[in-house]
């Protein structure tokens, strides 16, 4: 099984612990990630797209072209990159006029978008290509912890493009956390957005606070997620919230592949848990 990984900016630069945990866990599962040269930012589906959709789509198409030239499907680990590359791929495949416009631009750099590869979020590779049982077979030490899942928005929606799961009643992350030993705990704000894209910071602040409080109330040991932007908002954001509102939230935020890595026998340092702003010490004590 071979894929071209697209790690994007947030993961490779700001949260390399996510890249490390993806690489290590996928190697344990026998998946080959073939690194291709020349990728740029996906580009960012919030601000870059807000500036100019056509240029946004052109840069996304350029990234897809690199995978097409190698004949490999793109695998993304960041919900933002997933959104940009999946949306661009979808629209360019379905709208010949748009494709023509974008290809006119790509001609300047000698590239042509053809539309013959797929963009996949890596969790769908685990569920659909490897299969949940195969993931389970890589688990050496099931981690008996309670997880409250935060899906984030762009893994699931728009569902006509993403085709990952039912956007209102998803199960994919529950299944993946459960095979690594976790018990999934429902919480009130399970499908609330992290709010990161709003310009006025009071909105994301309130949303983040509500999500974290809902998790705190649920009795979960940690929040499990798959998006570095949500991670940013909840891990670092939690420190700011605690200061601003004098509350003690202390909800560790764990990226799925860090959790899978721990269950495969990797150490907390191997998956970079020491780099998190909200420390996971209490949670780690329970499994040591």
């Amino acid at each position: 099984m071979k894929y071209a990984p697209f790690f994007g900016c947030m993961i490779s630069v700001k949260y390399p612990q996510m890249e490390a945990s993806v690489r290590k866990t996928m190697a344990n599962l026998g998946v080959e990630l073939v690194d291709l040269e020349g990728f740029s930012c996906c580009p960012d589906p919030i601000y870059f797209k807000a500036a100019d959709k056509l240029t946004w789509m052109t840069l996304a198409a350029r990234n897809i072209c690199i995978a097409e030239e190698a004949g490999l499907d793109l695998v993304t680990m960041c919900s933002g990159c997933t959104a940009t590359l999946s949306e661009a791929n979808f629209h360019l495949k379905h709208d010949p006029e748009l494709k023509e416009k974008v290809n006119q631009r790509l001609k300047k750099i000698g590239k042509e978008y053809k539309g013959n590869v797929s963009v996949r979020h890596i969790v769908t590779v685990l569920r659909d290509d490897l299969g949940i049982e195969k993931v389970k077979s890589s688990v050496k030490k099931p981690l008996n912890l309670k997880v409250a899942i935060h899906y984030g928005c762009h893994l699931l929606k728009p569902s006509e493009i993403m085709r990952v799961d039912d956007p209102d009643h998803p199960t994919i992350l529950e299944r993946l956390f459960e095979v690594a030993g976790a018990e999934t705990i429902k919480h009130e704000k399970q499908v609330l957005c992290c709010g990161k894209a709003c310009t006025h910071e009071e909105i994301p602040e309130k949303m983040t606070y509500d999500v974290l409080s809902s998790i705190k109330k649920s009795g979960a040991d940690f929040m499990g997620l798959i998006c570095p932007t949500c991670f940013d908002e909840f891990d670092l954001g939690q420190i700011n919230l605690s200061r601003k509102f004098s509350v003690d939230l202390k909800v560790p935020i764990i990226y799925y592949f860090q959790f899978l890595g721990l269950s495969q026998g990797l150490s907390p340092e191997d998956v970079g848990l020491h780099l998190h702003k909200t420390k996971a010490d209490e949670m780690l004590k329970k499994i040591s």
Binding site: C9, M10, S12, V13, K14, P16, Q17, E19, A20, R23, D35, E37, G38, F39, S40, C41, P43, D44, P45, I46, Y47, F48, K49, A50, A51, D52, K53, L54, T55, M57, T58, L59, R62, H91, L98, R105, L106, K108, I109, C153, H154, K157, P158, S159, P167, D168, L192, C193, G195, K196, A197, C198, T199, H200, I203, P204, K206, M207, G272, L275
Partner: protein
């Protein structure tokens, strides 16, 4: 009574995803599950679509437009029975705002960062060191000359 500004609506029609605003019949399905509407009474996707139908340029793409509080969560895209994809209409409006220079400064800084470094988050000696400590390869180089040609 407000007169419809068709010139603005025609402009909106030219942006990717903007044309669908014509199909909005104001049912309000986009409002109920909108997180921004829940947290900010000023934000209401149905109202934004109504203003788009009226072509209310000043309110939609003026300097203090409420469109920038959209969370981009895509829930309205799911709910809309008319395939208006309100979030995409809002982003098309943001494109017009950017053209007019009424956008928040964050948009320009992300664009500049991609132009200068090919990334939204720039590398630093700290990020290089962290990658090394985690056993990762050096970060790959972005061909900036190619990007420059596409961003001209």
């Amino acid at each position: 009574m407000k007169l419809v500004n068709f010139k603005f609506r025609h402009k909106l029609n030219t942006i990717i995803g903007g044309e669908a605003h014509n199909f909005c019949y104001q049912c309000g399905a986009c409002v109920g599950d909108c997180p921004a509407a829940l947290y900010s009474p000023a934000f209401n996707p149905r109202n934004i679509l109504l203003e788009a139908l009226l072509g209310d340029e000043e309110s939609l793409v003026g300097p203090d437009s409420v469109i920038w509080d959209c969370t981009n969560c895509n829930t309205c895209y799911e709910r809309c029975p008319q395939a208006v994809r309100p979030v995409e209409v809002i982003i098309a409006l943001k494109n017009i705002s950017f053209e007019k220079g009424t956008n928040p400064p964050g948009v320009k800084s992300i664009l500049d960062s991609v132009k200068e470094s090919g990334r939204t988050v720039k590398t630093s000696s700290l990020s290089d060191r962290r990658r090394k400590e985690l056993g990762l390869k050096e970060i790959s180089i972005v061909p900036l000359e190619e990007l420059k040609k596409l961003l001209e």
